[in-house]
């Protein structure tokens, strides 16, 4: 149970975050000066996070933040300006502003801001970090640690991207219908990238990375709220919620890795799964099918195990086959082969795995782990052992390494061999 203090802090943070993104968007939408807007709000945001847990969230959070931000910049001005006339003038400006702030309703330009951050003229790798900073107010150091790059590198990339938005005149707006699909997929890709970074840290040892997954879900909800008729946005959120629902089951009591097939379905979050399935259904009623719809449907099929008691691998194999028609990713091809094998066609699955021609797979741990599993099932234990060895060598997560070693030992003991 969260204490009252924690609840107050969480409420303050949520409100500040909502307001922060809105204000950055509002202040930068016309000038395209993202850095300037962030500078103006930095102090105000910090003040809100320290004061709101005690005072409660104000009635007009945006007005509060903007007033504080303006007051700070007036303070700075005051230090530069001397003389009675200057003081009186500034006091007047301050009073006027506060009156204006109290009644002003702020338009929500956050989606336009997100589209600017994920514009094709912005380097793909910096889009997700830029969204996290501009919309959620993350500092460069936090983003850097989540994306595993040095703070100075991340800082430079963010600064460069922001000056590019300003100089090149990248617009803050929702693209027209004709280009919305392509542009939205860049936005969704950036959100998914943030989610995946957070998801990789299964143990939750690095809270910054774990938070990234919940921030990505928050952004996913925002996009769904603002574009409720876009099936791919609904499905990305559905996909992320399905994954999030299984988080409590991904690790055992002593931190050991638990693969999906062995997870205790009672530990899955039924509320999140319900929400995820409802989103998928909503998307199904709309026109158009995309990669996230297939991926969400695959997650939904896995989640159905909690009622059925078994996994419908044939359905999953069909969904992966559908996904393959949209995406040439070797990762999808590996998952398809595994699903085919588990659906009963073991040899066919192995043949599909062999047929994937992509050198990137040589360094892809799940490929070797999948190969090892399927070879073990088919009784080819010598080859399975080699594949396990490669998978273990490629894995950096200690818990997953221990799991793979255990599997390798189990397979070896079946043949009477001793694993080396």
């Amino acid at each position: 149970m969260a204490t009252g203090v924690e609840r107050a802090r969480a409420a303050a943070e949520a409100a500040a975050r909502q307001s922060y993104g809105r204000l950055v968007a509002y202040l930068s939408a016309r000038t395209r000066d993202l850095a300037g807007a962030e500078d103006a709000l930095a102090d105000a945001f910090a003040a809100a996070l320290s004061r709101w847990p005690e005072t409660g969230v104000p009635d007009h959070p945006e007005a509060w933040l903007l007033t504080v931000a303006r007051r700070r910049s007036i303070d700075q001005q005051r230090r530069r300006m001397t003389g009675e006339a200057g003081q009186a003038h500034l006091r007047l400006i301050g009073e006027e502003l506060e009156q204006e702030m109290a009644r002003e309703k702020f338009p929500d330009d956050r989606l336009g801001l997100i589209f600017a951050c994920a514009h094709p003229a912005i380097e793909a790798g910096v889009r997700a970090p830029l969204i996290l900073q501009a919309v959620l107010g993350f500092d460069a150091a936090t983003i850097a640690s989540a994306f595993l790059v040095s703070p100075s590198t991340m800082g430079q990339r963010l600064v460069r991207a922001k000056s590019r938005i300003k100089q090149a005149g990248i617009p803050f707006r929702i693209p027209e219908k004709a280009e919305l699909g392509e542009r939205l997929s860049a936005v969704l890709e950036a959100i998914y990238a943030a989610f995946s970074e957070g998801w990789t840290d299964a143990s939750g040892a690095e809270s910054r990375r774990r938070n990234l997954a919940s921030e990505a879900i928050w952004l996913g909800r925002l996009v769904v709220d603002l574009l409720p008729g876009e099936p791919e946005a609904l499905c990305l959120l559905s996909l992320m919620l399905h994954a999030e629902a299984r988080r409590p089951a991904r690790r055992g009591p002593s931190g050991e890795f638990v693969p999906l097939s062995e997870q205790d379905t009672l530990l899955w979050d039924a509320g999140l799964i319900g929400e995820a399935d409802a989103l998928l259904q909503r998307a199904g009623a709309l026109d158009g099918i995309g990669r996230y719809q297939f991926e969400a449907a695959i997650q939904s099929a896995h989640a159905a195990r909690r009622f059925a008691g078994r996994t419908d691998w044939a359905a999953i194999a069909t969904l992966y086959a559908g996904l393959m028609t949209l995406s040439a990713s070797p990762v999808v091809a590996v998952n398809h082969a595994v699903a085919v094998a588990y659906a009963g066609a073991l040899e066919q699955g192995l043949a599909l795995l062999d047929a994937i021609d992509d050198t990137r797979l040589n360094e892809y741990q799940p490929y070797w782990a999948a190969r090892a599993e399927l070879l073990t099932l088919s009784g080819n234990l010598a080859e399975a052992d080699k594949a396990y060895q490669l998978a273990i060598g490629l894995e950096t997560d200690l818990a997953v390494r221990r799991f793979l070693k255990r599997r390798r030992g189990d397979a070896a003991s079946r043949s009477g061999q001793v694993s080396g």
Binding site: H119, A121, G169, I170, P171
Partner: protein, 116 residues
């Protein structure tokens, strides 16, 4: 905002064409110019003589070096430019995509440095 569209393409086919074919090849540019003017987006635009007519100059240590030929020896050369008025990058990119040169060469879009 103002943007410059820099048209890079291989100009040898045009140079080798008959006057009649050159006229045919120029027709899309005439239509494009009309569209820019009609939309109030045209600030200026010029076609350049072929890259084979280029001369480069640089001054190093007080010495002026003059070389025949263009700045970079690549197949796609700067063949012309437009300066256009556009509300934002998306609008400028739209114009760039409609430029005939984009179909067989590359159009670089650069915002003009604001002086005011």
């Amino acid at each position: 905002m103002q943007y410059m569209l820099l048209l890079h393409h291989d100009d040898t086919p045009f140079a080798a064409a008959s006057p009649q074919d050159q006229e045919t090849m120029s027709a899309p540019y005439m239509a494009y110019n009309e569209a820019l003017i009609k939309a109030g987006a045209m600030v200026s635009g010029e076609r350049l003589q072929g890259a084979s007519s280029a001369t480069t100059v640089r001054v190093r240590d007080g010495r002026t070096e003059v070389l025949d030929g263009p700045f970079a020896a690549t197949k796609e050369q700067l063949g012309g430019f437009y300066i256009i008025e556009a509300p934002d990058l998306d609008a400028a990119l739209n114009w760039a995509a409609r430029c005939p040169s984009a179909n067989y060469g590359t159009v670089e879009v650069r915002p003009i440095w604001p002086t005011r």
